[in-house]
Amino acid sequence: MMEIGLNHYLVLSTILFAIGLLGIMRRRNLLMLFFATEILLNSVNIAFAAISHFYGDLSGQMFAFFVIAIAASEVAVGLGLLVVWFKRSGSIDLETLKSMRG
């Protein structure tokens, strides 16, 4: 069985990040978009935790904790906005968000 090293974590993180990016680019639904951003942030968390362990330094994990906290507050704000928007327009499709342009 192969030893799982730092690089594997980092590659996993990168792949997840790429998935998140793809999601952000492709999704047309606001809720799905928020999920994609969560994937982005959490992919970074994995890497932080791994690197922190690799260096034996706590600051990486601290960073990860803060990211989690921030992600949580983002969700709070984001969902709040989403709910309001749904109430106003009856849809959470990105197509409804096009009143300003040019």
Partner: protein, 624 residues
């Protein structure tokens, strides 16, 4: 003497300003009388000065600074020497007479006052021209007479032809003035001064090539004012002006300014005989060229104008060959009889309600006796018949050409003398002899006012006796001009020449009488190609119109509409529009869609990543 100088110079100005005061009001007789009187004063002062300079003295004053900057110093300086005194006499005599004459001639014109303002202003400019002691001052007068000539040719400004001719004259003169200006620049940068005395003193140290250039450019200036080929067309067109103007400006004074310039600059031209010879050749050419056009013309004033042109050619021959005093002498004599001729023509025009075609006249000698006599006298003088003024001055020029061994010039001038006699008497015959054709056209001719005739009489007198002053004049003027006597040493040759010339001229006169005593339209002659060429003035005005004026107008239009608007300005607008249009075209990128905004961000990120990859690979390669 300075006081006389200032009086001679500024009296015309005072007269002009006085008349100008009334310029907006209807005819005021005093506006004509005062300038005339002041001119007479000017004439008297000039006379005093003439007498003074005859004794060998000169008067030189410096009134004040005009321009001074760097090394350049140009004062308002005035010099009365023998040459300028001669010119002053010519100018003041002729202009005084013309002024007095004009009081009658312009009697019915509503712009009577304005006329005198301009006429006196002209005299003032002319006085500056001849009295200035430096080239810049000369240029003031030079341009001043141009301005006055413009205003007086276009005096009847409601006539399209008059204003057109005025502008043509001004612009043609300007072309020549540029040459003059360049000549002045050359003089300044090579001698450091524009004062005649300093310039002439320094001229011998200047490279001969430069002296030639100076001579050529100054002569270009002279060509404009004296209407030499190819700048001659304006003079005939200038006949649109009132006839006294033609007499004063376009016969006696302004057009001779070119000759005066060459005479004045004789120390320069003495150094460059080649240029002088060119001037002489051009002069001879113009003499004949102009005379030939006069042969067939049917406009009384134009005929006289061409005659003037022709005589100017004679003067340039003399000046070009170094016989400056001869040129000046002919200038003087010519001024008298040519002014007389014009004034006479003015009388005829008055009588004929401004009709100019001599073929519509005839037999006027009965009704206009005084005019008839004076015009005949003037024509005889012009033809150079002994003992009138023309004989002494014009034949002298022929002699000069002969003595200097320029036989071709001599021949040309001799032929021209014959032509001169022919067209002069063609005119006299058509106007005063033969049937009274004017009756067919319903004219009722009458003699001019008596005082107009009286005013003309001094000119008539001078036309007759001017030749008598030749020796006095010679002695006086050669104090400043090169003293060369022109005598054919072989008396036989001399007599053959003189008598031969006289006979030839008389023959021409008789031929003219015979041919035009009874004026008939000669259809066959008019079909002749040579006649056509002459009739159309060698097609030169046509050429100028077709190949210079029209292209200039067209080119101007192209420059404006096509280049300035469509290229230069459009480029500027295009630069602005490129930005604006780019904005219009690309603002669609901001389509308000969140998805594309996010994509844009990611694309930006990826682009930068790609650049980073390229860069790091490059670094590795370079390091490796």
């Amino acid at each position: 003497m300075e006081m006389y100088l200032y009086i001679a110079l500024f009296a015309p100005l005072a007269g002009s300003l006085f008349a100008a005061l009334f310029s907006a009001s209807p005819k005021t007789l005093i506006a004509g009388i005062v300038p005339s009187a002041l001119l007479f004063v000017s004439f008297l002062s000039s006379l005093v000065l003439l007498v003074y300079v005859m004794g060998g003295e000169t008067v030189h004053v410096e009134m004040m600074t005009w321009m001074a900057t760097g090394d350049l110093y140009i004062p308002y300086g005035f010099l009365v020497d023998q040459v300028s005194a001669t010119m002053m006499m010519v100018v003041t005599i002729v202009s005084t007479i013309v002024h007095i004459y004009s009081i009658g001639y312009m009697d019915h014109d509503k712009s009577f006052n304005r006329f005198f303002a301009w006429l006196s202003a002209f005299v003032f400019s002319m006085m500056i021209l001849v009295m200035s002691d430096n080239f810049a001052g000369l240029f003031i007068g030079w341009e001043g007479v141009g301005l006055c000539s413009w205003a007086l040719i276009g005096f009847w400004y409601h006539k399209e032809s008059a204003t057109w001719a005025a502008n043509e004259a001004f612009i043609m003169n300007r072309i020549a003035d540029l040459g003059m200006l360049i000549g002045i620049f050359l003089i300044y940068w090579n001698t450091g001064s524009l004062q005649y005395d300093k310039v002439f003193a320094a001229m011998s140290h200047v490279d001969i090539a430069i002296v030639s250039t100076i001579g050529i450019f100054l002569f270009i200036g002279a060509m404009g004012k004296s209407a030499q080929f190819p700048l001659h067309t304006w003079l005939a067109d200038a006949m649109e002006g009132p006839t006294p103007v033609s007499a004063l400006i376009h016969a006696a004074t302004m057009v001779t300014a070119g000759v005066y310039l060459v005479v004045r600059a004789n120390p320069i031209y003495d150094l460059i005989p080649d240029v002088g010879y060119f001037i002489a050749c051009l002069g001879a050419f113009v003499a004949m060229f102009a005379a030939s056009m006069a042969l067939v013309n049917r406009d009384m004033k134009r005929i006289i104008a061409y005659s003037t042109l022709s005589q100017l050619g004679y003067m340039f021959v003399a000046a070009g060959l170094g016989a400056y005093w001869v040129a000046l002498f002919h200038l003087m004599a010519h001024a008298f009889f040519k002014a007389l001729l014009f004034l006479g023509a003015g009388n005829v025009m008055h009588a004929m309600n401004d009709e100019l075609d001599p073929f519509k006249m005839g037999g006027l000698r009965h009704t206009m006796k005084g005019t008839f006599i004076m015009m005949t006298l003037a024509s005889v003088a012009l033809a150079g018949i002994f003992p009138l003024a023309g004989f002494f001055s014009k034949d002298l020029i022929l002699e000069v050409a002969f003595i200097e061994n320029h036989y071709i010039l001599y021949t040309v001038l001799l032929l021209t003398a014959g032509m001169t006699a022919f067209y002069s008497f063609r005119l006299v015959a058509l106007i005063f002899h033969g049937e009274e054709r004017y009756k067919l056209f319903g004219f009722h001719p009458h003699e001019a006012y008596k005082y107009m005739l009286i005013a003309m009489s001094p000119l008539a007198l001078l036309a007759v006796i001017a030749g008598a002053f030749k020796m006095t004049y010679f002695e006086m003027v050669t104090k400043v001009l090169p003293m060369t006597e022109y005598h054919v040493h072989n008396p036989i040759v001399y007599w053959i020449m003189t008598i031969g010339t006289q006979l030839f001229v008389i023959a021409c006169i008789l031929y003219a009488y015979r041919k035009y005593e009874v004026a008939k339209e000669d259809k066959k002659m008019e079909e002749n190609i040579g006649y056509k060429i002459l009739w159309n003035q060698y097609y030169i005005p046509h050429f100028y119109e077709e190949y210079i004026s029209k292209p200039y107008r067209e080119l101007s239009r192209i420059f404006w509409k096509d280049i300035d608007m469509k290229v230069v300005d459009a480029t500027v607008d295009m630069v602005a529009n490129v930005f604006y249009k780019t904005g219009e075209k690309t603002r669609g990128m901001q389509d308000g869609n969140l998805s594309s905004m996010l994509q844009l961000m990611v694309v930006g990120l990826v682009a930068m990543l790609a650049l980073a990859a390229v860069y790091s690979i490059a670094t590795v390669l370079v390091a490796g």
